[in-house]
Structures are given as structure tokens and as C-alpha cells.
Symmetry: C2
């Protein structure tokens, strides 16, 4: 599947509502549990997605349009949500994510990108040259990697409760853990 | 986390809305693509979840309550959705899933299960004795295994579009594929 911006946007605009439908008012035993020390809860994931809206996707896209490869993206701090989420409730974070995502998509539309713009290049601190198209496709895939993580960490809470069915449930055998973003 | 029926129900009742928010009117290039020959699309997954409501969870729970270990569950046909989904649209399947899930949860409530009932046993064709609690926990974990599969197969469509970011996206390294249900 070739990268098409309208398809990317179609996915990006659905993620907040999908997370909201799954997580709002779900008992804390689901939303505040993780997969062991150093791993994330549902609460952490939503905070992380908010943090990425503020510091990753649109700021990097704007940097590509303005500076091309002459400036290197600031490294993304994937634990950056911890401080900002403190004292907030999950429903608050879900509302905040919906608002910042809508704002990001509005800024994206204001860029009036043409298909040829997707080949414009920026500079990633690890990878070197990357294209705007790769950045925007990664934005959508990043939503999906955290939906994937979320379904896995929720299922993890029932790894014993399911008894012998464990062997049939792929989510309990998953090793697809993201290393960074 | 111990199995608690109210927690299981909280998750089960959210899945249809979460899938609806993610998939309704998402372009076909997302919802009709799979991960290669013999793998499923989003459309297939929703059909499979409907089929499981009809033939797996509540029918097996009712069999445990009525017959205990004296009757063996009928094997679940995990390709059983193919015929039933034919000619339907994804929005139709999403509506149908919401309706059959609501009906299943209504039948579950009518069983008026007490915590002690979760230890009652039935007989699985592969595993032998299983408990009602394990069956109901698996119902919820099965939703999650397919949400996990869905996020992976959607991300798979962008495995090339993300360029070098592929190495950071755990969802693109996932080997947690379910073998049956």
C-alpha cells in the first residue's frame, strides 16, 4: 500500500475516539496495570500519545518544510509524559488527546501539502535523512503500535485467568514491543 | 489480577464501540487489506467476532451450567464467518457485532452467576476440563487478541511507507499470531 495522505489522516482522526470507547470509565484494575516493572499502563500510553502530538509529529513536519535537512530533529523523549500526566485522570487525558490530535490535524491541513511534498527531506538524529512522507506514515503506525501495546497489556492481566486457552491467544505470545519512537 | 466478572463485562461491553470508532468508514485500503495469503482483514475479524458470539461463549457457558463435564463443547470453527459475512458491508457487520454482543451480555446477566459458579467445570475438546471462569476470561482476552491482530495488520500496510522508523515500531516485529480460539 503506497502512502496516501488522506488514508493516513483517516486513521489519525479515528484513534482518539477508539481509545475513548475502549478506556473511558473502564475499571482502574485494567487502566492502571502494566506488564511488569518499567512497562506502561493504559494511562501512560495516552499520556505518551499527547506528548508526541506536542513535540514530535507536527513540529518535525514543520521543521522539514522550513529547514529541510539543514536542521536535525530534537530527539523525542518517550518518557516525557510522566511529569505532564501527573495529577490528571484518564478521562482528562482522553479529552486532552482528542483536542491535541484535532489541533495537529488542523495544522497539517493548513500546510496544504501536495503529493510531491511527501518526498521532502529532514534529518533524524539516528537515521539521518528521512522524508516527510515517512514521518507522516510513522505518525499513523505509531498510533497502531500503541493500540497493539494496549491490547497486549490488557490481555496480560488475564494471562492466568484464561487457564489452558493461553496457548491459543496470540496476544499472550507477543514479542512486538516498541523500543522508542 | 484475579478474574472478576464485572471487570470482564466492562471490557466486553466496550469492544464493539471501540471497533466501530476505529473502523467505520475507514477507507477500504485499510479494512480490506490483510497480512498476506491466508491471513485476515479487518472485515474478516469483525465477522469472526460475530460468529464467536453465536457459537462459542454463551453457548459454551450454558452447556457448562446445564451439563457440567458430561458434554464436550463443539469445536469452534474459526473460519466460520466466511459464509455468513458474504455480501455484507463492514458497517453492517459492525452494527451486527454490537447487537449480538449486547444480546450475549444480556444472556450472561440472566444467568445470575455467583462468584462460586466460576469454578464450575465443562469439557473442552482439546483441553479436557476447563472452568466457567476460564471460559469467560478467555472471551475478554479473545477480543483483545483480535484488537491486537487488527492493529498489527493495519500497521503492516505501512511497513514500507515508514522507512527507517520500522525498527522502532514494535507492532511491525510482532509474532503474536493466534492459532485458533
Amino acid at each position: 500500500m503506497r502512502h496516501d495522505l488522506s488514508q493516513t489522516v483517516a486513521l489519525l482522526e479515528r484513534t482518539p475516539a477508539a481509545l475513548n470507547a475502549l478506556l473511558r470509565n473502564l475499571p482502574d484494575c485494567w487502566t492502571l496495570s502494566n506488564e511488569g516493572e518499567g512497562t506502561w499502563t493504559a494511562f501512560d500510553i495516552v499520556g505518551h500519545l499527547i506528548h508526541a502530538e506536542h513535540t514530535d509529529w507536527i513540529p518535525r513536519a514543520a521543521m522539514i518544510l522550513e529547514h529541510g535537512e539543514s536542521q536535525t530533529f530534537k530527539p523525542f523523549n518517550r518518557e516525557g509524559q510522566n511529569e505532564k500526566s501527573q495529577g490528571k485522570s484518564l478521562p482528562q487525558l482522553l479529552d486532552e488527546f482528542a483536542a491535541v490530535r484535532a489541533e495537529s490535524l488542523s495544522r497539517l491541513r493548513a500546510m496544504k501539502l501536495e503529493p510531491g511534498d511527501l518526498d521532502r527531506r529532514g534529518r533524524h538524529p539516528n537515521f539521518g535523512p528521512v522524508t516527510l512522507g515517512q514521518l507522516l506514515a510513522t505518525w499513523a503506525a505509531h498510533d497502531l503500535t500503541h493500540l497493539h501495546q494496549l491490547s497486549r497489556l490488557l490481555a496480560y492481566q488475564y494471562r492466568e485467568a484464561v487457564g489452558p486457552w493461553m496457548v491459543f491467544l496470540g496476544v499472550l505470545q507477543c514479542n512486538g514491543h516498541s523500543s522508542a519512537a
